[in-house]
Amino acid sequence: MSRLDEAFADGPAFVPYLALGDPDLESSLEYVRALDRGGADVIELGLPFSEPIAEGPTIQSAVVRSLSGGMTPTKFFDAVETLDVDAPLVCMTYYNLVYQFGGSEARSASEDASGGTASEGAGPRPFVERAAEVGIEGFVVPDLPAEEAGPLREACDEFGLDLIFIVAPTTRGERLERIMERTSGYVYVQARLGVTGAKADVSDQTGASLDRLDRWDLPKAVGFGISSGEQAREVVAAGADGVIVGSALVDIVAEGTSAASQTASGDVAEGHENGDSTEAVADRLETLARELKRGALAGAERAQSERT
């Protein structure tokens, strides 16, 4: 049993997401610690890619902020290496970054050897190796379908990491089988069609998806659109083993950042009076984390009581 499976063992898991480096590396590490304090069971850390096709506007903006701040895969891993939190960490990123990592050296070598022909990415192994070194427990790669995941799955197995796949409301039949065969750690249940983003209601599709997944033992974490403790409660009550929350948390970071940048041009002291210091944002994140965790627990109690 991996550390990720374990995180789901003692009741419903709260799985928050943040983009590392948003709005800057130091602040975002502070925010991760706040989520940890707020009760996170697993933390998904976004390594930003320039073309985040699966993300909604909220997370896309976080990605842009992080990239503008100079985030790179190397800095990402270096930062994670220093991070001391209780919750196991999952890296969420896009396949091109996984595929290219470590390729610059390989590429230079091959260019030397072949006189400048275009070289190939180093493949997923160096990325996984480095992730394992710094203490990452698994990956979510939203643009990597099961069909293309062979090499990454192998590397994960080699280094003992989990590879988490996303199951959409439209995923059924053979596709579902194929995905579930390759998934480990937990399965990411996409609550609705579309992209990431906070929504006010919980989709009907969630229940149907969970029903389809009933026969697999793997923990089922539901994401896409969960923003409140109440929603977390509903989702867990509907049978989820955990809730994944991203955009609602990123919104807090974004608001703090935009307030800070608005006042940056005026009196710096005002920014602190407004409570938009890193500490204040971290506090707010911790507060929402606690609410979400409480909601998940409440949902589990209701599910328990219904079962008994």
Binding site: E55, V64, N96, S104, E120, L144
Partner: protein, 410 residues
């Protein structure tokens, strides 16, 4: 679904069923002509689109380059570019699939206008995503889409250009995939798009091959086409790929330099075949302009239609196989090519096409051979404003005097 190691389906899981459904529909309707799809497509291409387009001997350029030079006149297709071949095919396919709605992305606006035209013609509601910056730069094309009844949705994220519009369209599709078809505009994206778009565009080489045989006899020695995403390129090459005697030249935008500025994350060119490296973008493994981390860099070309950091996976494969030779033409040379074709043949080409024309000037006579087919992918009306600005700011020896236009087009 692969071309060697290139291609594939690197998309969010939510889109996979739609892509499988599309693949199935592609096989049945396009490959097997179920319900007479292919017949209707061909008929509409002819009557609505204006096919076949001519294969015209360019007398003066033939003399200049001492070869028999032929122009495949896709600029005469309805809408003014080869783009309609694909847009009409996909919108018609969406109708056969029972989809109720079309979405598409557009950068310079050419694919958007082609899609809007096809959707109006076939009476399907249509929404086009376009970066806000592109909207401001390409107002005539935006207006054409609106005139054809399409909604144009401004994309304000990021820099507001093609990349962001693609992401936004993917998002729309991920949300509405059950009722909506996403009309991708080039031989890019996840399978089956690269194959399907190539097949819709193959009418270019199918006609050119037959026309050359009728008019000259046999096969040309070389075929030249500009390459951005690569849809006119694959369209022009496709039916010649198995003719080993025919050399295929893909002319990429060399921009202002072939080097990549890693600091700034900018490649001042769009030469993914010539300088790019393997990676995964917008659903497919292909050649990309990227930094060493795998972040996609900002590409550049004087021709906004070539300005894309990726390229069709099949083209990447054909280049690796040595079947297609990638070459580059920089911004200045492209502008010269633009003026040359305008003056010597009375055809004002798109700036994309101008790259293909410009390469003739730097090609060796061995490369060209005794007969050349150049794909005139589109007409230049859309580029007049850019050409005035860009020509005025450079030393283009063969440009007409621009003084009368110092105030721009209005």
């Amino acid at each position: 679904s692969k071309f060697g190691e290139y291609g594939g389906q690197y998309v969010p899981e939510a889109l996979m069923p739609a892509i499988e459904e599309l693949d199935d529909a592609y096989r049945r309707y396009v490959l097997e002509n179920e319900d007479g799809f292919v017949d209707e497509f061909r008929e509409r291409l002819r009557d609505f689109g204006g096919r076949p387009t001519p294969l015209q001997r360019a007398d003066r350029l033939s003399e200049r380059y001492d070869t028999d030079l032929f122009l495949k006149r896709e600029d005469l297709l309805h809408g003014g570019a080869h783009k309609l071949n694909n847009a009409l095919g996909q919108v018609l396919l969406a109708k056969y699939m029972g989809k109720e709605r079309i979405v598409a992305e557009t950068g310079a606006g050419q694919h958007g206008t082609a899609t809007a035209m096809a959707a109006a013609h076939l009476d399907v509601p249509c929404e086009i995503y376009m970066g806000e910056r592109d909207i401001n730069r390409q107002r005539p094309n935006v207006f054409r889409m609106r005139l054809n009844g399409a909604a144009v949705n401004p994309v304000t994220t990021g820099r507001g250009t093609l990349k962001e519009a693609i992401s936004e369209t993917m998002r729309d599709w991920a949300t509405t995939v059950e009722t909506t078809h996403y009309v991708i505009g080039s031989v890019v994206g996840p399978h089956p798009f690269p194959t399907m778009v190539r097949e819709f565009q193959s009418v270019i080489s199918e006609e050119a091959r037959r026309q050359f045989d009728d008019q000259v006899g046999g096969l040309p020695d070389s075929v030249v086409a500009c390459a951005g995403g690569g849809s006119n390129t694959m369209g022009a090459f496709s039916r010649f790929v198995s003719d080993e005697s025919v050399d295929l030249y893909a002319v990429e935008a060399g921009g202002s330099s072939l080097a990549v500025d890693e600091e700034e994350g900018v490649a001042p060119n769009s030469a993914s075949l010539s300088t790019g490296t393997e990676g995964v973008l917008h659903g497919a493994r292909t050649k990309l302009l990227q930094d060493r981390d795998g972040q996609i860099v900002e590409s550049h070309s004087v021709s906004s239609g070539l300005d894309y950091a990726g390229v069709g996976p099949e083209l990447a494969y054909l280049v690796d196989e040595g079947r297609v030779t990638p070459v580059t033409v920089d911004d200045d040379a492209a502008l010269e090519g633009f003026h040359r074709l305008s003056q010597t043949e009375g055809i004002i080409p798109a700036l994309e096409t101008a790259h293909a024309v410009a390469w003739l000037e730097q090609a060796t006579s061995e490369q060209l051979g005794d007969s050349v087919v150049v794909c005139v992918s589109g007409r230049g009306d859309k580029d007049l404003e850019s050409v005035i600005e860009e020509t005025a700011s450079r030393e283009i020896p063969n440009a007409p005097d621009m003084d009368v236009f110092s105030g721009g087009m209005r």
